[in-house]
Protein backbone atom coordinates (compact mmCIF):
# COMPACT_ATOMS: atom_id res chain seq x y z
CA UNK A 1 0.00 0.00 0.00
CA UNK A 2 2.77 2.37 1.01
CA UNK A 3 4.63 1.83 -2.27
CA UNK A 4 1.53 2.69 -4.30
CA UNK A 5 1.19 5.95 -2.39
CA UNK A 6 4.86 6.82 -2.82
CA UNK A 7 4.69 6.21 -6.54
CA UNK A 8 1.65 8.45 -6.91
CA UNK A 9 3.17 11.28 -4.88
CA UNK A 10 6.54 10.98 -6.55
CA UNK A 11 5.02 11.33 -10.01
CA UNK A 12 3.32 14.56 -8.94
CA UNK A 13 6.54 15.84 -7.39
CA UNK A 14 8.56 15.01 -10.50
CA UNK A 15 6.23 17.05 -12.71
CA UNK A 16 6.14 19.93 -10.27
CA UNK A 17 9.95 20.10 -9.98
CA UNK A 18 10.22 20.16 -13.77
CA UNK A 19 7.78 23.05 -13.83
CA UNK A 20 9.88 24.97 -11.30
CA UNK A 21 13.01 24.31 -13.37
CA UNK A 22 11.28 25.52 -16.54
CA UNK A 23 9.73 28.66 -15.05
CA UNK A 24 12.77 29.85 -13.13
CA UNK A 25 12.69 31.78 -9.91
CA UNK A 26 11.00 34.88 -11.32
CA UNK A 27 7.60 33.18 -11.24
CA UNK A 28 7.95 31.82 -7.72
CA UNK A 29 5.17 32.77 -5.34
CA UNK A 30 3.91 31.74 -1.91
CA UNK A 31 1.68 29.24 -3.68
CA UNK A 32 4.77 27.25 -4.74
CA UNK A 33 6.02 27.19 -1.15
CA UNK A 34 2.62 25.90 0.02
CA UNK A 35 2.63 23.22 -2.68
CA UNK A 36 6.11 22.00 -1.70
CA UNK A 37 4.98 22.01 1.92
CA UNK A 38 2.04 19.81 0.92
CA UNK A 39 4.36 17.39 -0.91
CA UNK A 40 6.68 17.38 2.08
CA UNK A 41 3.84 16.37 4.43
CA UNK A 42 2.77 13.63 2.04
CA UNK A 43 6.29 12.30 1.67
CA UNK A 44 6.68 12.20 5.48
CA UNK A 45 3.35 10.41 5.86
CA UNK A 46 4.42 7.61 3.53
CA UNK A 47 7.79 7.52 5.35
CA UNK A 48 9.80 8.62 2.31
CA UNK A 49 12.21 10.39 4.66
CA UNK A 50 14.94 11.09 2.17
CA UNK A 51 12.57 12.76 -0.25
CA UNK A 52 10.90 14.63 2.62
CA UNK A 53 14.26 15.97 3.82
CA UNK A 54 15.19 17.24 0.35
CA UNK A 55 11.74 18.84 -0.01
CA UNK A 56 12.18 20.55 3.35
CA UNK A 57 15.50 22.12 2.30
CA UNK A 58 14.00 23.11 -1.04
CA UNK A 59 11.18 24.80 0.82
CA UNK A 60 13.61 26.69 3.08
CA UNK A 61 15.48 28.00 0.03
CA UNK A 62 12.28 29.08 -1.73
CA UNK A 63 11.11 30.94 1.36
CA UNK A 64 14.46 32.67 1.60
CA UNK A 65 14.18 33.68 -2.04
CA UNK A 66 10.71 35.13 -1.49
CA UNK A 67 11.91 37.03 1.57
CA UNK A 68 14.87 38.31 -0.49
CA UNK A 69 17.10 36.96 2.24
CA UNK A 70 20.86 37.19 1.73
CA UNK A 71 20.97 33.60 2.98
CA UNK A 72 19.40 32.38 -0.28
CA UNK A 73 21.92 30.30 -2.16
CA UNK A 74 21.38 29.33 -5.81
CA UNK A 75 23.67 26.31 -5.68
CA UNK A 76 21.90 24.93 -2.64
CA UNK A 77 18.51 25.55 -4.28
CA UNK A 78 19.52 23.68 -7.43
CA UNK A 79 21.15 20.89 -5.44
CA UNK A 80 17.91 20.15 -3.59
CA UNK A 81 15.75 20.72 -6.65
CA UNK A 82 17.80 18.04 -8.42
CA UNK A 83 17.72 15.71 -5.43
CA UNK A 84 13.91 15.93 -5.24
CA UNK A 85 13.64 15.24 -8.96
CA UNK A 86 16.04 12.29 -8.85
CA UNK A 87 14.42 10.75 -5.78
CA UNK A 88 10.94 11.08 -7.24
CA UNK A 89 12.07 9.48 -10.53
CA UNK A 90 13.91 6.73 -8.76
CA UNK A 91 10.63 5.35 -7.44
CA UNK A 92 9.50 4.92 -11.05
CA UNK A 93 12.70 2.98 -11.73
CA UNK A 94 11.96 0.88 -8.67
CA UNK A 95 8.59 -0.20 -10.04
CA UNK A 96 10.39 -1.95 -12.89
CA UNK A 97 13.33 -3.42 -10.98
CA UNK A 98 11.47 -4.53 -7.82
CA UNK A 99 14.75 -4.17 -5.96
CA UNK A 100 13.71 -4.08 -2.30
CA UNK A 101 17.16 -3.22 -0.91
CA UNK A 102 17.42 -0.29 -3.27
CA UNK A 103 13.89 0.75 -2.36
CA UNK A 104 14.71 0.96 1.36
CA UNK A 105 17.86 2.88 0.61
CA UNK A 106 15.87 5.40 -1.36
CA UNK A 107 13.15 6.09 1.14
CA UNK A 108 15.76 6.58 3.85
CA UNK A 109 15.30 6.13 7.55
CA UNK A 110 15.16 8.55 10.42
CA UNK A 111 17.77 7.73 13.13
CA UNK A 112 16.44 4.93 15.33
CA UNK A 113 17.41 5.67 18.92
CA UNK A 114 17.64 3.18 21.75
CA UNK A 115 18.58 3.63 25.37
CA UNK A 116 22.17 2.88 26.30
CA UNK A 117 22.79 2.37 30.00
CA UNK A 118 26.40 3.42 30.45
CA UNK A 119 29.03 5.02 28.24
CA UNK A 120 32.54 6.15 29.07
CA UNK A 121 33.41 9.01 26.75
CA UNK A 122 36.12 11.50 25.93
CA UNK A 123 35.69 14.49 23.64
CA UNK A 124 37.84 13.83 20.57
CA UNK A 125 36.85 16.62 18.23
CA UNK A 126 34.65 19.60 17.47
CA UNK A 127 33.26 20.81 14.17
CA UNK A 128 31.42 24.08 13.71
CA UNK A 129 28.36 24.19 11.47
CA UNK A 130 26.79 27.30 10.00
CA UNK A 131 24.07 27.12 7.34
CA UNK A 132 23.26 30.72 6.60
CA UNK A 133 19.94 31.80 7.96
CA UNK A 134 18.85 28.26 8.85
CA UNK A 135 20.93 26.57 11.48
CA UNK A 136 24.16 26.93 13.38
CA UNK A 137 25.85 24.81 15.94
CA UNK A 138 28.60 22.36 16.72
CA UNK A 139 29.06 18.64 16.31
CA UNK A 140 30.88 17.08 19.24
CA UNK A 141 32.80 13.91 18.39
CA UNK A 142 33.24 11.60 21.39
CA UNK A 143 35.55 8.61 21.60
CA UNK A 144 33.83 5.70 23.29
CA UNK A 145 36.16 4.07 25.81
CA UNK A 146 34.26 0.99 26.93
CA UNK A 147 31.60 -1.58 26.18
CA UNK A 148 30.32 -2.64 22.78
CA UNK A 149 30.87 0.86 21.36
CA UNK A 150 34.54 0.97 22.42
CA UNK A 151 36.70 2.71 19.83
CA UNK A 152 33.73 4.15 17.96
CA UNK A 153 33.30 7.86 17.42
CA UNK A 154 29.88 8.98 18.65
CA UNK A 155 28.47 12.29 17.49
CA UNK A 156 26.37 14.70 19.54
CA UNK A 157 24.73 17.44 17.47
CA UNK A 158 24.07 20.76 19.16
CA UNK A 159 22.12 22.85 16.67
CA UNK A 160 20.03 25.99 17.06
CA UNK A 161 18.23 28.35 14.70
CA UNK A 162 20.80 31.08 14.06
CA UNK A 163 18.94 34.19 15.38
CA UNK A 164 21.64 36.49 14.03
CA UNK A 165 24.55 34.87 15.86
CA UNK A 166 27.31 33.79 13.51
CA UNK A 167 29.82 32.22 15.88
CA UNK A 168 28.76 28.68 16.85
CA UNK A 169 31.46 28.53 19.55
CA UNK A 170 29.17 30.39 21.92
CA UNK A 171 26.87 27.35 22.15
CA UNK A 172 29.65 25.55 24.02
CA UNK A 173 29.13 27.86 27.00
CA UNK A 174 25.47 26.85 27.32
CA UNK A 175 24.38 24.56 30.11
CA UNK A 176 23.68 20.96 29.15
CA UNK A 177 19.99 20.60 30.06
CA UNK A 178 19.50 19.35 33.63
CA UNK A 179 23.17 18.50 34.12
CA UNK A 180 24.45 21.64 35.87
CA UNK A 181 27.51 21.79 33.61
CA UNK A 182 28.21 23.44 30.27
CA UNK A 183 29.38 21.70 27.11
CA UNK A 184 32.78 23.33 27.70
CA UNK A 185 33.08 21.39 30.96
CA UNK A 186 33.30 18.22 28.85
CA UNK A 187 36.69 19.36 27.47
CA UNK A 188 39.86 17.52 28.57
CA UNK A 189 38.08 15.11 30.89
CA UNK A 190 36.83 11.56 30.63
CA UNK A 191 33.23 11.17 31.80
CA UNK A 192 30.51 8.61 32.24
CA UNK A 193 27.13 9.16 30.64
CA UNK A 194 24.19 7.14 31.86
CA UNK A 195 20.95 6.49 30.00
CA UNK A 196 21.69 8.37 26.79
CA UNK A 197 19.76 7.86 23.56
CA UNK A 198 21.95 6.10 21.01
CA UNK A 199 21.56 5.43 17.32
CA UNK A 200 23.87 2.60 16.29
CA UNK A 201 23.43 3.11 12.55
CA UNK A 202 24.15 6.85 12.62
CA UNK A 203 26.60 6.67 15.56
CA UNK A 204 24.68 9.47 17.25
CA UNK A 205 24.03 10.15 20.91
CA UNK A 206 21.57 12.54 22.54
CA UNK A 207 20.12 13.29 25.95
CA UNK A 208 17.18 11.13 26.92
CA UNK A 209 14.01 12.58 28.46
CA UNK A 210 12.64 9.62 30.41
CA UNK A 211 14.52 8.01 32.08
CA UNK A 212 16.69 11.10 32.39
CA UNK A 213 20.29 11.02 31.25
CA UNK A 214 23.03 11.71 33.76
CA UNK A 215 26.59 12.89 33.07
CA UNK A 216 29.29 12.33 35.68
CA UNK A 217 32.63 14.00 35.06
CA UNK A 218 35.87 12.51 36.34
CA UNK A 219 37.30 14.84 38.93
CA UNK A 220 40.81 15.09 37.57
CA UNK A 221 42.04 15.93 34.09
CA UNK A 222 43.78 12.98 32.53
CA UNK A 223 45.76 12.25 29.39
CA UNK A 224 44.04 11.99 26.04
CA UNK A 225 43.30 8.35 25.06
CA UNK A 226 45.34 8.53 21.87
CA UNK A 227 45.77 4.76 21.71
CA UNK A 228 42.05 4.31 21.09
CA UNK A 229 42.39 6.39 17.91
CA UNK A 230 45.26 4.30 16.49
CA UNK A 231 42.77 2.24 14.45
CA UNK A 232 42.30 5.35 12.27
CA UNK A 233 46.04 5.66 11.55
CA UNK A 234 45.80 4.09 8.07
CA UNK A 235 48.77 3.02 6.01
CA UNK A 236 48.46 3.51 2.26
CA UNK A 237 47.17 -0.03 1.56
CA UNK A 238 44.58 0.13 4.33
CA UNK A 239 43.41 3.48 3.10
CA UNK A 240 43.20 2.29 -0.51
CA UNK A 241 41.03 -0.68 0.45
CA UNK A 242 38.87 1.57 2.59
CA UNK A 243 38.31 4.03 -0.26
CA UNK A 244 37.62 1.19 -2.71
CA UNK A 245 34.53 0.28 -0.66
CA UNK A 246 33.09 3.77 -1.13
CA UNK A 247 29.68 3.65 -2.76
CA UNK A 248 28.78 6.31 -5.29
CA UNK A 249 25.31 7.76 -5.24
CA UNK A 250 23.92 10.64 -7.28
CA UNK A 251 22.46 12.19 -4.13
CA UNK A 252 25.70 13.19 -2.47
CA UNK A 253 27.40 16.53 -2.22
CA UNK A 254 30.64 16.80 -4.22
CA UNK A 255 32.45 16.45 -0.90
CA UNK A 256 32.18 12.99 0.58
CA UNK A 257 33.08 12.29 4.18
CA UNK A 258 32.98 8.67 5.11
CA UNK A 259 35.40 7.92 7.91
CA UNK A 260 37.90 9.35 10.37
CA UNK A 261 41.67 9.51 10.13
CA UNK A 262 44.56 9.98 12.53
CA UNK A 263 47.65 11.58 10.98
CA UNK A 264 50.99 11.56 12.74
CA UNK A 265 54.05 13.84 12.57
CA UNK A 266 52.41 16.26 10.25
CA UNK A 267 53.84 19.41 8.72
CA UNK A 268 51.97 21.89 6.57
CA UNK A 269 54.37 22.48 3.70
CA UNK A 270 52.40 24.58 1.27
CA UNK A 271 49.11 26.38 0.80
CA UNK A 272 47.14 27.89 -2.05
CA UNK A 273 43.71 29.34 -2.68
CA UNK A 274 41.56 27.64 -5.32
CA UNK A 275 38.74 29.35 -7.20
CA UNK A 276 39.78 32.88 -6.30
CA UNK A 277 40.26 34.06 -9.88
CA UNK A 278 38.07 31.55 -11.68
CA UNK A 279 34.48 32.25 -12.63
CA UNK A 280 32.99 29.82 -10.16
CA UNK A 281 30.07 31.03 -8.10
CA UNK A 282 31.20 29.59 -4.79
CA UNK A 283 33.59 30.56 -2.01
CA UNK A 284 37.32 30.16 -2.65
CA UNK A 285 38.92 27.16 -0.98
CA UNK A 286 42.12 27.18 1.06
CA UNK A 287 44.22 24.11 0.30
CA UNK A 288 46.98 23.08 2.67
CA UNK A 289 49.43 20.44 1.48
CA UNK A 290 50.66 18.09 4.21
CA UNK A 291 53.75 16.00 4.83
CA UNK A 292 53.22 13.23 7.35
CA UNK A 293 54.56 9.95 8.70
CA UNK A 294 52.62 7.70 6.30
CA UNK A 295 53.76 9.73 3.30
CA UNK A 296 50.75 9.46 0.94
CA UNK A 297 49.29 12.64 -0.61
CA UNK A 298 47.03 14.39 1.87
CA UNK A 299 45.48 17.85 2.06
CA UNK A 300 43.32 20.06 4.19
CA UNK A 301 40.63 21.87 2.13
CA UNK A 302 38.63 24.62 3.81
CA UNK A 303 36.10 26.97 2.26
CA UNK A 304 36.85 30.62 2.87
CA UNK A 305 33.85 31.16 5.15
CA UNK A 306 33.74 32.96 8.47
CA UNK A 307 32.98 29.68 10.26
CA UNK A 308 36.42 28.43 9.11
CA UNK A 309 38.38 31.64 9.69
CA UNK A 310 39.87 30.68 13.08
CA UNK A 311 40.89 27.29 11.76
CA UNK A 312 42.51 28.77 8.63
CA UNK A 313 44.48 31.26 10.74
CA UNK A 314 45.75 28.54 13.08
CA UNK A 315 46.80 26.32 10.16
CA UNK A 316 48.58 29.26 8.50
CA UNK A 317 50.40 29.77 11.77
CA UNK A 318 51.51 26.13 11.85
CA UNK A 319 52.71 26.49 8.24
CA UNK A 320 54.58 29.74 8.73
CA UNK A 321 56.34 28.52 11.87
CA UNK A 322 57.01 25.10 10.30
CA UNK A 323 55.66 23.62 13.49
CA UNK A 324 55.16 19.84 13.57
CA UNK A 325 51.77 18.56 14.70
CA UNK A 326 52.31 15.28 16.55
CA UNK A 327 48.78 13.98 15.90
CA UNK A 328 45.88 15.37 13.94
CA UNK A 329 42.53 13.64 14.22
CA UNK A 330 39.82 14.50 11.75
CA UNK A 331 37.18 13.48 9.28
CA UNK A 332 38.45 11.77 6.15
CA UNK A 333 37.13 13.76 3.23
CA UNK A 334 37.22 12.96 -0.50
CA UNK A 335 36.92 16.19 -2.44
CA UNK A 336 37.77 17.28 -5.95
CA UNK A 337 40.18 14.40 -6.45
CA UNK A 338 42.12 15.11 -3.29
CA UNK A 339 42.32 13.00 -0.18
CA UNK A 340 41.73 15.41 2.64
CA UNK A 341 41.34 15.65 6.37
CA UNK A 342 38.94 18.03 8.06
CA UNK A 343 40.68 18.84 11.38
CA UNK A 344 38.74 18.04 14.54
CA UNK A 345 41.52 17.89 17.13
CA UNK A 346 45.28 18.40 17.45
CA UNK A 347 47.04 16.24 20.02
CA UNK A 348 50.52 17.34 21.06
CA UNK A 349 52.31 15.77 24.04
CA UNK A 350 49.12 13.80 24.72
CA UNK A 351 47.12 16.97 25.30
CA UNK A 352 44.22 17.78 23.00
CA UNK A 353 43.39 21.10 21.37
CA UNK A 354 40.10 21.60 19.60
CA UNK A 355 41.57 23.57 16.76
CA UNK A 356 38.35 24.97 15.29
CA UNK A 357 37.23 26.51 18.58
CA UNK A 358 38.18 30.06 19.40
CA UNK A 359 38.24 31.58 22.87
CA UNK A 360 34.71 32.44 23.91
CA UNK A 361 34.02 35.52 25.98
CA UNK A 362 32.19 34.75 29.21
CA UNK A 363 29.65 37.52 28.51
CA UNK A 364 28.34 35.49 25.59
CA UNK A 365 26.78 33.05 28.00
CA UNK A 366 24.32 35.68 29.23
CA UNK A 367 23.53 36.81 25.67
CA UNK A 368 22.85 33.23 24.67
CA UNK A 369 20.63 32.60 27.65
CA UNK A 370 18.48 35.58 26.68
CA UNK A 371 18.32 34.68 23.00
CA UNK A 372 17.34 31.06 23.53
CA UNK A 373 15.12 31.51 26.59
CA UNK A 374 11.99 29.44 26.11
Amino acid sequence: MQKVQINKISEEIEKYIELLAYNGLNLISKENVRQIEFFLQNASQVEAYRLATSLRYLNVELERFLQQSTAFNTERYIFFLCNCWLLSRSFKFLKDTKDEAFYHKLIGQAPQFQLIEDLKLRLGGIEKIFLEGAIFGVILYFISLMGKTKGKILKWNIFQPSKGIINPDVLLTLEIPQQGISFKDLFDKTFNAFKLSYSEKDELIALNEEPKSKIVLQEKKDYFPLKTLERYDYDVKGLYSKISTFEYTPFDLPTSAFDYILVKNLEIVDSEVEGEKENIKSSPVYIFKLNHKRGYPLYIRLQDKHVNQGLIEKLMNYKNNRKIIENLFGRLVLERGQLSIFPLCVINENIEEFISVSEVQKDYREIMKTLYKK
Binding site: I17, E18, L19, A21, Y22, N23, G24, L25, N26, L27, T74, E75, Y77, I78, L81, C82, W85, L86, V236, K237, L239, Y240, I243, S244, F246, Y248, T249, P250, D252, P254, S256, E272, E278, N279, I280, K281, I287, K289, G295, Y296, P297, Y299, L334, E335, R336, G337, Q338, L339
Partner: protein, 115 residues
Protein backbone atom coordinates in the same frame (compact mmCIF):
# COMPACT_ATOMS: atom_id res chain seq x y z
CA UNK B 1 49.38 20.02 -6.77
CA UNK B 2 48.87 16.37 -7.65
CA UNK B 3 45.58 16.62 -9.57
CA UNK B 4 46.55 16.22 -13.25
CA UNK B 5 45.87 18.72 -16.01
CA UNK B 6 43.23 16.81 -17.97
CA UNK B 7 41.27 15.97 -14.81
CA UNK B 8 41.36 19.61 -13.81
CA UNK B 9 40.17 20.54 -17.31
CA UNK B 10 37.23 18.13 -17.06
CA UNK B 11 36.25 19.42 -13.62
CA UNK B 12 36.40 23.06 -14.73
CA UNK B 13 34.44 22.23 -17.92
CA UNK B 14 31.78 20.69 -15.69
CA UNK B 15 31.78 23.86 -13.61
CA UNK B 16 31.06 25.89 -16.76
CA UNK B 17 28.24 23.51 -17.81
CA UNK B 18 26.70 23.72 -14.36
CA UNK B 19 26.88 27.53 -14.35
CA UNK B 20 25.04 27.67 -17.70
CA UNK B 21 22.35 25.14 -16.82
CA UNK B 22 21.96 26.68 -13.36
CA UNK B 23 21.39 30.01 -15.09
CA UNK B 24 18.49 28.47 -17.00
CA UNK B 25 16.96 27.02 -13.83
CA UNK B 26 17.30 30.36 -12.04
CA UNK B 27 16.10 32.66 -14.83
CA UNK B 28 13.63 30.31 -16.49
CA UNK B 29 13.64 29.13 -20.09
CA UNK B 30 11.91 32.27 -21.41
CA UNK B 31 14.73 34.44 -20.08
CA UNK B 32 17.55 32.08 -21.04
CA UNK B 33 20.33 33.99 -22.74
CA UNK B 34 20.38 32.82 -26.38
CA UNK B 35 24.13 33.45 -26.61
CA UNK B 36 24.45 30.36 -24.47
CA UNK B 37 23.55 28.26 -27.53
CA UNK B 38 26.88 29.21 -29.08
CA UNK B 39 28.68 28.48 -25.82
CA UNK B 40 26.96 25.11 -25.61
CA UNK B 41 28.31 24.12 -29.03
CA UNK B 42 31.81 25.15 -28.00
CA UNK B 43 31.46 23.13 -24.82
CA UNK B 44 30.31 20.08 -26.76
CA UNK B 45 33.41 20.29 -28.97
CA UNK B 46 35.62 20.53 -25.92
CA UNK B 47 33.86 17.58 -24.25
CA UNK B 48 34.25 15.52 -27.44
CA UNK B 49 38.00 16.14 -27.35
CA UNK B 50 37.98 14.95 -23.74
CA UNK B 51 35.99 11.85 -24.89
CA UNK B 52 33.08 12.56 -22.58
CA UNK B 53 30.47 11.47 -25.08
CA UNK B 54 27.72 10.75 -22.58
CA UNK B 55 27.68 14.42 -21.52
CA UNK B 56 27.92 15.49 -25.18
CA UNK B 57 24.78 13.46 -25.92
CA UNK B 58 22.94 15.01 -23.01
CA UNK B 59 23.94 18.52 -24.13
CA UNK B 60 22.85 17.71 -27.68
CA UNK B 61 19.41 16.58 -26.49
CA UNK B 62 19.19 19.69 -24.32
CA UNK B 63 20.05 21.88 -27.28
CA UNK B 64 17.40 20.19 -29.47
CA UNK B 65 14.71 20.59 -26.78
CA UNK B 66 15.60 24.29 -26.47
CA UNK B 67 15.25 24.80 -30.23
CA UNK B 68 11.95 22.92 -30.28
CA UNK B 69 10.77 24.83 -27.19
CA UNK B 70 9.59 21.57 -25.67
CA UNK B 71 8.80 22.70 -22.13
CA UNK B 72 8.85 19.35 -20.37
CA UNK B 73 11.94 18.07 -22.23
CA UNK B 74 13.95 21.25 -21.57
CA UNK B 75 13.40 20.93 -17.82
CA UNK B 76 14.05 17.17 -17.85
CA UNK B 77 17.28 17.59 -19.82
CA UNK B 78 18.53 20.44 -17.64
CA UNK B 79 17.96 18.38 -14.49
CA UNK B 80 19.52 15.33 -16.19
CA UNK B 81 22.67 17.30 -17.06
CA UNK B 82 23.08 18.60 -13.53
CA UNK B 83 22.51 15.19 -11.95
CA UNK B 84 24.80 13.39 -14.38
CA UNK B 85 27.68 15.85 -14.07
CA UNK B 86 27.33 15.64 -10.30
CA UNK B 87 27.46 11.84 -10.33
CA UNK B 88 30.40 11.88 -12.72
CA UNK B 89 32.20 14.35 -10.47
CA UNK B 90 31.72 11.96 -7.52
CA UNK B 91 33.12 9.02 -9.50
CA UNK B 92 36.02 11.10 -10.78
CA UNK B 93 36.71 12.38 -7.30
CA UNK B 94 37.21 8.87 -5.92
CA UNK B 95 39.03 7.51 -8.96
CA UNK B 96 41.53 10.39 -8.90
CA UNK B 97 42.25 9.75 -5.24
CA UNK B 98 42.70 6.02 -5.88
CA UNK B 99 45.05 6.82 -8.77
CA UNK B 100 47.06 9.11 -6.50
CA UNK B 101 47.39 6.35 -3.90
CA UNK B 102 48.37 3.74 -6.52
CA UNK B 103 51.05 6.09 -7.86
CA UNK B 104 52.31 6.61 -4.34
CA UNK B 105 52.46 2.83 -3.70
CA UNK B 106 54.36 2.40 -6.97
CA UNK B 107 56.93 5.03 -5.99
CA UNK B 108 57.27 3.49 -2.53
CA UNK B 109 57.86 0.00 -4.01
CA UNK B 110 60.40 1.34 -6.51
CA UNK B 111 62.31 3.11 -3.74
CA UNK B 112 62.19 -0.07 -1.64
CA UNK B 113 63.63 -2.24 -4.43
CA UNK B 114 66.38 0.34 -5.18
CA UNK B 115 67.54 0.12 -1.61
Amino acid sequence: MTIDKSAKEVLSTFDVIKIKVNELIINGVDNFNRDNFVDLNELMDKLKSLRLNFIVNLLAKFSVSLKEKNKSEIAKNALRIISTTRMFESIMNIELIKKDLINYMGRENAEGSNQ
